[in-house]
């Protein structure tokens, strides 16, 4: 006999009283809140927290479906999802610390090095294999990567 079932025994009755769709609705709402956090906040910490919210939203739905199908696997998945969340947090916070060391900031908008930088008009692509000023036309030349000219 558990605490909960002991406390709830008079009211629970048999089976599940709560409609499953309520559980799923809660999960969806939580997920939306998570999206809100990740999409609108710029603090990487809060973003990570929001990701946790989303994971939890998924967990709620998993537990709900576990009940709906009377199948324990859903709760096992919750367990896995928690493990993944723990791993994600460990690595995420490590990245956060690394970013902070580099930038002295954890504003997501400060770390945009990977965006496309406007270098002005790009030089025309010199394509291998076209008639060109190549003195020797060994076919070794053709094996050169095509993008080499574009990246310069």
């Amino acid at each position: 006999m558990t605490l909960a079932s002991a406390l709830l025994a008079p009211v629970l009755g048999a089976g599940l009283a709560i409609p499953i769709e309520w559980v799923i609705g809660l999960g969806l709402a939580l997920f939306s809140v998570g999206i809100l956090g990740v999409a609108c906040r710029r603090n990487i910490l809060i973003m990570l927290l929001s990701v946790e919210i989303m994971l939890n939203a998924a967990n709620v739905v998993l537990v709900g479906f576990s009940r709906m199908h009377s199948e324990i696997s859903g709760q096992v998945f919750v367990f896995f999802s928690m493990t993944v969340a723990a791993a994600e947090v460990a690595v995420g916070l490590a990245i956060l610390i690394a970013v902070y060391r580099l930038r002295r900031s954890i504003d997501a908008d400060d770390t945009t090095q990977l965006r496309e930088i406007d270098y002005g008009p790009l030089p025309p692509i010199k394509l291998e294999g076209e008639p060109s000023h190549h003195a020797h036309d060994d076919h070794d030349d053709a094996a050169e990567p095509v993008g080499a000219a574009g990246g310069a």
Partner: protein, 423 residues
């Protein structure tokens, strides 16, 4: 003879209480009745008050014992043997000005002490104080009534969950105070408690494996049948005890509030009742830790058959054991010096974590082999492994910290003067 005497003495107590709980029985189909709920609430109130009073008395005991160990007298003016000193302290705390510094985060600053106390308190919900006994209920049926607020089948897990929350109070208190010392204390507290929670949890795993139940009642029942868990799992018991010391931030692990380093650590900025709450939290945590140690490893309310004298005997045994370990807390505090922080971390991650893991593996392997004799070989192996680990650690330290006399530039004890040394 003893049995008869005990029956005489305890029996007098038994009847009214049994009646009380009989009145509060559950209904015939096992569902709760109003009376049953009231009974549980009464039990909660009883336990809460006992713990709070115990915490207050512990402050007195701490001061008395430390004084005794240091050859002083300690508080002995208020009441007999100074026993009313806690009351006096309480008055002082309540009437002192509650200073809230201007630079703190007010909400967090206020709730942090509460967070310290509550998890420690609610852990008691699953601890069985004595054996179950049967009562004939109001409806005439017989029920099993246990001296336990909630008989959770995941009791061990519940304890691990709830004790893990205690760190929030310290961490938030340190952070909200917005002061360097407090923050350092808070950071230290969070790192230390996360580290030792691992060892704590892993030390419990073999117990759960052996008993194959997460129910604390089952753990005690198993120990009543097979002997205390501390004999089967000496390593786990040892590590659990030390991890409890670290979890409660008691010496030799009181890094978060080390006076000589951080003034008072996370509660530097606190005063009045908030400060008292931190204190209360610490002593409640000590009580919880002792109770857990007793329950998981030292047979709980059993004592080699003595508990069969009656349910009240179980309460006495349990209390005696818990009190002994509370005394041990104080004893250790005034005996062993503080660790350095890196030593603390090394002890947690470098020694306890591997040891507990090995212990879990060995236990699981022994259980998988399903041989009775292995369960008795295991403690010997574990003790041997402790000794080996200790020896290795000693050797390592010996290499690292060579004796002062061997260090360069130190004049050996025998060399009295510089002349002889240079000659």
């Amino acid at each position: 003879m003893i049995h008869a005497l005990a029956n005489l003495g305890l029996g007098m107590l038994h009847q009214p209480i049994a009646f009380l709980f009989g009145f509060f029985d559950r209904a015939g189909d096992g569902s709760a009745t109003f009376g049953w709920v009231i009974g549980k609430i009464l039990l909660v109130l009883l336990v809460t008050h006992v713990i709070l009073i115990l915490a207050a008395l512990m402050v007195w005991a701490e001061r008395r014992v430390s004084a005794w160990m240091q050859g002083r007298l300690g508080p002995n003016r208020v009441g007999p043997e100074g026993l009313l000193q806690p009351l006096a302290d309480l008055g002082k705390f309540m009437f002192k000005e509650d200073v809230i510094p201007g630079h703190v985060h007010k909400v967090m600053y206020t709730i942090a002490p509460l967070i310290t106390v509550i998890p420690a308190m609610i852990t008691f919900a699953v601890i069985p104080f004595t054996g179950s006994f049967e009562t004939s209920g109001a409806t005439g049926d017989t029920f099993i009534q246990s001296w336990q607020i909630a008989d959770l089948n995941i009791g061990v897990l519940y304890i691990l969950s709830v004790t893990g929350l205690g760190v929030y109070g310290l961490t938030l208190g340190g952070w909200a105070s917005n002061s360097k010392y407090s923050l350092l204390g808070g950071v230290r507290a969070s790192a230390q408690m996360i580290s030792y929670e691992l060892s704590l949890g892993l030390a419990v795993v073999p117990v759960v494996l052996i008993v194959s139940s997460l129910n604390l009642g089952d753990v005690i029942a198993w120990q009543a049948d097979n002997g205390w868990m501390a004999f089967h799992q000496p390593l786990a018991a040892f590590i659990f005890m030390i991890a409890v010391y670290a979890e409660t931030n008691r010496l030799p692990f009181d890094m978060p509030e080390a006076e000589t380093e951080l003034v008072a650590g996370y509660h530097t900025e606190y005063s009045s009742m908030k400060f008292a709450l931190f204190f209360m939290g610490e002593y409640t945590a000590m009580t919880v830790g002792s109770a857990l140690l007793v329950t998981l490893f030292l047979g709980g309310w059993t004592f080699f058959g003595l508990e069969q004298l009656g349910w009240a005997m179980g309460v006495l045994i349990f209390s005696a054991k818990v009190l002994f370990f509370l005394f041990a807390f104080i004893w250790v505090r005034w005996t062993i010096p503080r660790f350095r922080y890196d030593q603390l971390m090394w002890l947690g991650w470098g020694i306890f974590l591997p040891l507990t893991l090995v212990n879990v593996l060995l236990t699981a392997g022994a259980l998988a082999m399903d041989q009775a004799w292995i369960m008795w070989i295991l403690p010997l192996v574990l003790i041997a492994s402790i000794l080996i680990a200790a020896w290795i650690g000693w050797k390592r330290d010996e290499k690292k910290f060579q004796p002062l006399s061997d260090a360069p530039g130190v004049i050996p004890a025998g060399a009295a003067t510089g002349e002889e040394a240079s000659a």
